[in-house]
Symmetry: C2
Subunit: 128 residues, 2 copies
């Protein structure tokens, strides 16, 4: 089938794919991680700018998620020795490489949004 | 920067990217959807096979998630007129196209697993 031709090189059994999807979700599957990475795509940001820029995130959740992203090597915390001290967060090279497949997924979502809406309408119409 | 060269065609401001990531997550961002899609990559499956094959999913959650996937046009429910009736779920063409970027993300995760583990170890060591 044509849609299988160019699949990325991952194992092909459902079980193997599933254990890979699980470990992927454990690593980067939470909403806040993705939203922070998306926000940092535009460039380095201060904590307060992230807090204001990501709708619905709490200060505690932002702190925790940034720490996880920093621990994973996806985000770098940069402290500038100025008065008052300035702290910024920015994507590492590794973080940039992750953003690429994330944006592929976003592109898929945009590309097929109308098609999905059409399917939903048809599904709902068929069931009254 | 070289890692930005081949980014997919999506808007580049942090805000725009974030609203796209949000709508993506609303659409296909839950763990069970991705795990069902991953399982169906291997071919059509009956409900009971899915239930047994996806660790931790409840009968109710599987029913609900399949219904959402069917409504979105990602999964097809095929009823065979045999005795006893046989029902199978399979990926639609649209479902196959979604699996592709999902597997790109999985491939990223596999490719960088060791690197991430290394970052974690270094982070933990630096903080005692």
């Amino acid at each position: 089938m044509s849609h299988d031709e160019a699949l990325p090189q991952v194992a092909c059994s459902g079980d193997a794919v599933n254990s890979q999807i699980r470990s992927l979700l454990d690593r980067v599957g939470d909403k806040w991680s993705l939203l922070i990475l998306g926000t940092l795509q535009a460039g380095p940001q201060r904590f307060t700018a992230l807090l204001g820029g990501i709708d619905g995130i709490s200060q505690r959740m932002l702190t925790l998620t940034l720490r996880h992203l920093e621990r994973d090597g996806l985000v770098r915390r940069e402290v500038y020795a100025v008065v008052p001290p300035k702290v910024e967060y920015e994507l590492t090279d590794l973080g940039h490489t992750l953003l690429r497949p994330v944006l592929e997924l976003v592109a898929w979502s945009q590309e097929h949004a109308d098609e999905i809406d059409g399917h939903r309408a048809a599904y709902d119409a068929a069931r009254g």
